[in-house]
Subunit: 298 residues, 2 copies
């Protein structure tokens, strides 16, 4: 498999096991797709599927899963704590291997087009695929939710990118787009003073003048008697993990504070740990092809 | 594929392309085996195959390749610069994923037994699989080569582990064993004085009182005007890459020398770069399962 893309669609069904299994079956059944995870939440009444595979196979599985979701889910009867605009709320595509963000964007755009054609579903492109800057942020697209779509879609600013300018009577609309994999990374500090974590977070993050693809905040983990700088690195190919950690280290110095340890939440792309190893060991020309195991999936 | 083992057999044929292709075909043809590389050397008159796969599939391919090599190679007519004891000189098995060294050892022992039964070939177990300490070192087994085997095999110390106590008339004998993957790693120093590299190498390596699974020597790369500490790490699960590098760093300090950069030769197991990342970033409980791509081959 030369090219691998990840897809993490969010479906507005988190309670009925039969409906959930039916939707997930689209990913299970598809050759060259690997279903990594699916988890549903009853309060949110929502399910998140995580699947990886070749672009063509992922496209087929996603399009089929949307068809099944439209059959199974009626948004006029849907209640849950999580905001949503449709039976399928959002479909993010994430480049994993041998794929650039702009290729992932092409895939997202094609899927959006086909969803509109096949199911007469209004489609908003978001994040890297957005057709205008006010549509990049998913929260802006979701504002007003399914119930507010009828009015919102009449506004020129909110005409869908594909499909009709009326919401689908039972399935609403869907947001589709490409984004980089997120790295969720926390740095624990040897202090119980959360103000210090907060001050460091502000220096390190993009909006405070820090690293371009870094979001950060100070967090007080009172139960563990620890404070931490909690980060999301939104493009590890541009802002590396070691840059964020070393920057926190030198900012912490002015308070006489040191790093106690770090914590990786969830997954990290292989290239990010290759970059980390190459930096700290000073390895020249280190490539992920030199890792024995990478040959196993090629 | 839950369990992956690597096999790197060395065949005493490095000149005749048809014979080489015929031997290699055993690996190409086998399901669940991936042929990573094969390279032949005309001066050495020798070929090294690198293949990975499931234990059962690798066993089948190796046993078949030995049969083909016995058909193709006549050691009584073999000349080459590299020492060798047989048509197939040595068959190392290396645990890659989901396999312990002792499981690799079981696989090596089974293959040895079957080679003796199938082809009436004398088999010496070596390295981790050796039946006595004087047989661990491959160089000791090879001493005297094919030509010396007739006399050597009469000695009680050199009775083969499996098969007859006479050499195979055309195919000699074979050494089979399990070993850990080697990491070949060089550290370049900011000095042109090779004595310094040599002194550091002696402190870092096992025989000098240094790290248990580290072999090291000073090397003068005159053309590049660089000296380096050139290392083989023979068990990265016990002696980590970062330990060797940090030890070189603090030994170099006494000479006022710093590390200019490092160089990884060939392949490195994924777990070794996970360990490096976990050390330098201080990540608690970092697992290779958190790397996105590892899910692709499971």
């Amino acid at each position: 498999m030369d090219k691998i893309i990840e897809c993490v669609p969010n479906f507005s069904e988190g309670r009925n096991p039969e409906k959930i299994e039916n939707i997930v079956s689209a990913f299970r059944a598809q050759e060259n797709v690997k279903l990594l995870d699916y988890s549903n939440d009853k309060d949110h009444n929502r399910m998140v599927v995580t699947a990886v595979g070749t672009p063509e196979a992922i496209k087929k599985a996603v399009i089929r899963s949307v068809g099944l979701a439209i059959q199974e889910i009626d948004l006029t009867k849907h209640r849950g704590q999580h905001p949503r605009i449709g039976a399928v709320d959002v479909i993010p595509f994430i480049p994993i291997k041998g794929i650039t963000l702009s290729e992932a964007n092409e895939i997202a755009t094609e899927v959006g087009k086909q969803l509109a054609e096949t199911y007469n579903l209004p489609v908003y492109l978001y994040e890297q695929s957005a057709s205008a800057s006010h549509r990049q942020n998913l929260a802006s697209i979701r504002k007003g939710e399914f119930e507010g779509l009828i009015e919102k879609m009449k506004l020129p600013d909110w005409k869908p990118d594909f499909g009709p300018s009326d919401r689908h009577s039972s399935a609403g609309a869907v947001a589709v787009g490409a984004r980089m994999p997120l790295i969720a990374f926390n740095v624990n500090l040897n202090t119980s003073n959360v103000e210090i974590a907060d001050k460091i977070a502000r220096k390190v993050r993009h909006i405070g003048g820090g690293l371009r693809y870094c979001k950060a905040m100070g967090v007080d983990l009172k139960e563990q008697n620890v404070v931490q700088v909690s980060m999301n690195l939104t493009d590890y190919t541009q802002t590396a993990v070691y840059q964020a950690v070393e920057m926190i280290r030198f900012e912490a110095k002015r308070y006489g504070v040191t790093i106690a340890g770090c914590e990786l939440i969830g997954l990290i792309p292989l290239q990010a740990i290759v970059d980390t190893t190459a930096y700290y060991l000073g390895i020249e020309n280190f490539s992920s092809k030199q890792i024995l195991e990478t040959h196993l999936w090629e």
